[in-house]
């Protein structure tokens, strides 16, 4: 992005929009990094007005120590070598060479400790994007440029240890140096002229790349939830219908390693909770024999459902989406056949369709890295491991739904229990994550940053309830969040989301029942706003109260509430 484009993006921000203040903490003059960070954030937050707060020049630690977290939604912390010791920059003349190397290391260690304490004190509700020193070290060391000196290695070791400790902090996200290197070549980052004249050490190109990367850490794209893959010449090399289940390959010796790597990637994605399904045109019994091979790298039980037949793949995708109960925009479809990709794309334009590049190794590597970007999550949660099992359970439930007696028996014998935790600690980031990523059973679609969510809880009448669920088939983890205010004998719910994995278990009824009982309320109202996707929430509320935004009396709820079988365990978090 050119600087003029960045300025234009900032100027086009809606004037009256809700502000999105972000601290940019750096020891140098923020200048164009401020512009680029604002522009990249504004581009992904078109309904907000991004505002960058800056701190003290030449005092990064002081900026962090004086920072009031209540003023910002997030923080971008950019450390350069000169922040750790001015002798590692070009604006001070404190000496270079072996004579001062040991003293520089001592200073760097002490400064990193100070920074670590300051960063650790930032509340967990505030997302922190941390960029480690990215400029080349000055020629301050006794070795020639192609030989690493002990001091340089020790400096990098100190920074790596600092980052390793901070990454355990729930809200700190460290910028990946490898990705930054791809977007901005290390030897094209430093601008001596701008550093000496304006105190700004970066070239515009690097400021752009760094601003973009920091914005991606602060407002990451929603990770995709599922991947639907073809089989022949995709999951494996060869046509299983022609070569037989022993004839297809995914190993190095058969020149099929790219397929093996793809399977390995699918296995890793499945382990982190990504749903994997198959859509293939084949004879099902032949494909199943190949999928049953013990050397398959992605575990067979991690793949569900499997659509293998000769019908159109768009139909397969439609059924898979229904089974998973997620939107087409949450999945990726991978196939080696362009025609199949186009057929699926035409039916589901929101789905990302990726061509599996059979013989193009460079494109294959690009694809594997693209998959990491599409499915990457900032931190893993326990719930990620439960996703596939809960979908398989839902399938059991779907099989009996429609038959009233069977469904009732299923629910009655499920040995279900619901945990209701009121006012959970701020460290529980799954709460806001669930609010922000749930589309279908979502009262109004309003999204929050961690900081906004925590600020809204300051009202003493406000409560938050986090719902966990498990039954004899296993746990679903945290599956619902409700937030509301109580006044006298009324409750007003302004946030209510429930994971689609938890549908058809009457959990929504139990939630309302528990709230009526806990607060002795006689009436409940809902801040319902219709969104393109929240039909399930609308239908549920309409069935109870006539229309989704109507007040619901306890009497009316009791009359319409079906029998509830779950055991309920209440807990108070704070």
């Amino acid at each position: 992005m050119k600087l003029s484009e960045a300025l234009s993006v900032i100027q086009r921000a809606p004037v009256d929009a809700r502000p999105f203040p972000v601290l940019l903490a750096c020891g140098f003059s923020p200048l164009h990094l401020e512009n680029y960070l604002a522009a990249h954030l504004q581009a992904v937050l078109p309904d907000r007005k991004v505002r960058i707060l800056t701190g003290l020049y030449d005092d990064l630690a002081g900026t962090l120590e004086q920072f009031d977290p209540a003023n910002a939604q997030a923080a971008a912390i950019v450390i350069e070598w000169s922040d750790l010791d001015p002798r590692l920059g070009y604006r001070k003349l404190g000496g270079w060479g072996e004579r001062v190397a040991a003293n520089i290391l001592e200073t760097v260690e002490a400064t990193l400790s100070r920074l670590e304490i300051a960063i650790s004190r930032i509340p967990v509700s505030l997302k922190v994007a941390l960029s480690l020193p990215a400029l080349p070290l000055t020629p301050a060391f006794h070795t020639s440029g192609w030989q690493a000196s002990g001091a340089e290695i020790a400096l990098r070791e100190l920074v790596a240890g600092f980052a390793r400790r901070l990454i355990a902090h729930p809200s700190v996200l460290v910028l990946n140096e490898q990705r930054l290197n791809e977007r901005s070549k290390p030897d094209e980052r430093y601008d001596l002229r701008a550093d000496l004249h304006a105190g700004f050490p970066y070239t515009l190109k690097h400021a752009d790349a760094l601003g973009e990367a920091l914005a991606a850490l602060i407002v990451p794209p929603q990770p995709k939830k599922g991947l639907i893959t073809d089989l022949d010449d995709t999951l494996w090399l060869g046509l299983v219908g022609e070569e037989g289940h022993d004839g297809v390959a995914w190993d190095l010796a058969s020149h099929a390693q790219l397929h093996g790597l793809y399977q390995q990637m699918l296995g890793a994605l499945a382990d982190q909770g990504v749903l994997i399904a198959i859509a293939s045109k084949n004879a099902p019994e032949v494909a199943e024999r190949a999928l049953a091979r013990p050397d398959l790298i992605v575990a067979r039980e991690k793949i569900y459902p499997v659509e293998v037949h000769w019908d159109a793949k768009s139909g397969s995708v439609e059924r898979i989406l229904k089974t998973w109960n997620i939107g087409a925009d949450s999945v990726v479809f991978v196939d080696d056949n362009r025609m199949e990709l186009e057929e699926v794309r035409a039916a589901f334009p929101e789905t990302e369709c990726i061509l599996f590049p059979k013989a193009d190794y460079a494109a294959g590597l690009t694809m594997l890295r693209r998959l990491r970007d599409l499915f990457g999550k900032p931190k893993l949660a326990d719930e990620d491991a439960y996703r596939l099992e809960s979908i398989k359970q839902n399938r059991h439930l779907a099989d009996v739904t429609g038959n009233g007696d069977l469904a009732e028996h299923f629910l009655a014998s499920a040995e279900a229990s619901i945990g209701l935790e009121f006012d959970p600690p701020a460290t529980d980031r799954r709460v806001v994550e669930l609010v922000n990523k749930t589309n279908q059973f979502n009262l109004n679609g309003v999204r929050y940053t961690d900081a906004e969510w925590q600020q809204s809880l300051q009202n003493p009448d406000c409560f938050v309830a986090v719902v966990t669920y498990q039954d004899k088939f296993g746990p679903l983890g945290k599956i619902a969040v409700l937030r509301g205010k109580r006044t006298a004998d009324r409750i007003r719910i302004d946030t209510w989301v429930m994971s689609c994995r938890a549908f058809s278990r009457r959990i929504e009824y139990q939630c309302l029942s528990q709230l009526f009982q806990r607060f002795g309320a006689q009436e409940m109202s809902f801040d319902f706003i219709s969104t393109p996707k929240n039909g399930p929430a609308r239908d549920f509320l309409s069935a109870l109260a006539g229309e989704p935004a109507a007040a619901l009396t306890r009497e009316a709820f009791t009359a319409k509430c079906p029998k509830l079988y779950q055991k309920v365990i209440q807990k108070h978090g704070q």
């Binding site: 300025l7 164009h32 004249h197």
Partner: protein, 83 residues
């Protein structure tokens, strides 16, 4: 107005979006409240980008009006004055 002047007006509009377009050609550090040291550096960097040139920062610090900047650009880029 030549293309160079039109291009410089566009640069000023980008850096000083609140300035009335008709007043740009008479703009100076004294007449534009937002023309501080940060804006001056931003202006120089946007000019460098848009005119694909590198300015002499020591000299550029003395360029305190639209007309002075235009004159400087015509001086350092005479061959592309009519692009």
């Amino acid at each position: 107005m030549d293309n160079k002047e039109a291009k410089l007006i566009k640069v000023f509009q980008t850096v000083f979006p609140d300035m009335h377009p008709e007043k740009i050609s008479a703009a100076s550090q004294e007449s534009v409240p937002g023309w501080d040291s940060v804006a001056a550096i931003t202006l120089m960097n946007v000019i460098e980008e848009e005119f694909e040139t590198q300015l002499d920062f020591d000299k550029a610090a003395d360029l305190t009006s639209f007309q002075e900047i235009l004159g400087y650009l015509r001086e350092v880029q005479p061959n592309v004055a009519q692009l």
